[in-house]
Point group: C2
Chain length 237, copies 2
């Protein structure tokens, strides 16, 4: 029963843990239901989890690692729709459409839990107290990426970095982490070119707001970064 340990330890901090814990309770009471986590999988870097337009069957919870979701537009170019990290859930959008609306690809080696949506619904049925929690989780997703509406490139990039540091659970003391995605991916997500992202990084480095070396990044002036994200400050030259 590999499920019994993870739910307490590996899954600490996972937004889906309440479901898994409840499931253990069901089991210990001898209730016969389909398991909500059907299986665990690991993805190698650049491995595809699902393709756009394929039939929706599972939600996926990320144990550790990073993925991006993307479309290929009619004119051929790729459009990044989101980044997902440990504890995040993939597939909510497909509940409505019935098929995945984006493709999902692993940016690093990644471990996931596969959750058949039908089993999940059956499970919710046995535990109506968890209704509130799933609505809470999906509502959270509606609030994401609001900074994409910001006008200037600087604002969007600063807000992106702050969002990223939070979602990667970066230590508030060190404020240092590794970007899991390329400049191209960042730019694509923020509606910028890779060149503009690179230039903005250089600019922020010169202004000693961040330190950046390839994928390694550290915040030197957290407050200014927040001000820039809000449009209350700009970093020039």
């Amino acid at each position: 029963m590999p499920n019994l340990i993870p739910a307490d330890l590996v899954c600490r901090g996972c937004t889906f843990a309440p479901f898994c814990l409840m499931e253990q309770e069901n089991l210990s009471q001898g209730k016969q239901i389909n398991p909500i986590v059907k299986r665990h999988r690991t993805l190698k870097q650049k491995e595809i989890l699902f393709l756009s337009k394929s039939k929706f069957q599972n939600l996926y919870v990320i144990q550790h690692g990073a993925l991006k979701t993307y479309h290929t537009e009619a004119d051929g170019k790729e459009l990044i729709r989101g980044f997902y990290f440990a504890g995040d859930v993939l597939g909510y959008k497909a509940i409505y459409t019935g098929h995945y609306v984006s493709s999902a690809l692993a940016l690093t080696e990644t471990a996931i839990c596969e959750i058949p949506y039908m089993h999940f619904l059956e499970f919710l049925h046995t535990r109506p107290t968890l209704q509130k929690h799933i609505l809470y989780l999906i509502s959270q997703r509606l609030n994401e990426g609001s900074y994409l509406g910001s006008t200037t490139a600087q604002q969007r990039l600063a807000a992106f970095l702050l969002d990223l540091s939070g979602r990667l659970h970066v230590s508030q003391a060190k404020l240092e982490f590794v970007l899991p995605m390329s400049r191209q991916d960042i730019g694509n997500y923020l509606r910028l070119t890779a060149e503009t992202v690179s230039r903005l990084f250089s600019q922020m480095q010169k202004n000693e707001i961040i330190f950046i070396d390839h994928k390694k990044i550290r915040f030197l002036q957290l407050e200014r970064l927040k001000q820039i994200a809000e449009g209350l400050d700009v970093c020039e030259y």
Copy 2:
């Protein structure tokens, strides 16, 4: 009992109707529960439904009319977050945050149903078969506004007009409707200025893709409009 008629007739096409119909069934079976629609309200033009940061208590379903949601940014200017029409639900984002994240204001005279979230949760508890439906509805919202990621102003405006015509239930034969919002609001939502929106309308009119006279608009070439939204065509000069 003014609730009994609307659920069948006035509420036709409302995404929340399944809940209201189920409630009637509960009532007819003599089940004692809090009503999911607490009361009906009408808003005059420019009347505020709720303010940003006020405590979340109700979801609101629009019977008829139009609203916009907006923030006031730190630098003082308004930022439109969305438009809502008959059958739409306001307040999903606040399920996560516990307070409304935007302010909501009526663009025209508007009628709404006020749904206390607590009553709604209690009701869901009695009808677990409707869990699936509410997840479906919120998932739908995750899929909205995806065209805001498009690169050119033309693409975003074309996609916006198409989205609008669908959500206003415009007849496929006439393809004519009235814009409920100002150029300023449209531009603000699409990250454009009112001047740019005005120029694009003029341009599309010259190219005989749309006819526009103040707030009245008609699609003359639906297919080209779709092509423009997809980035497969441009309308020049």
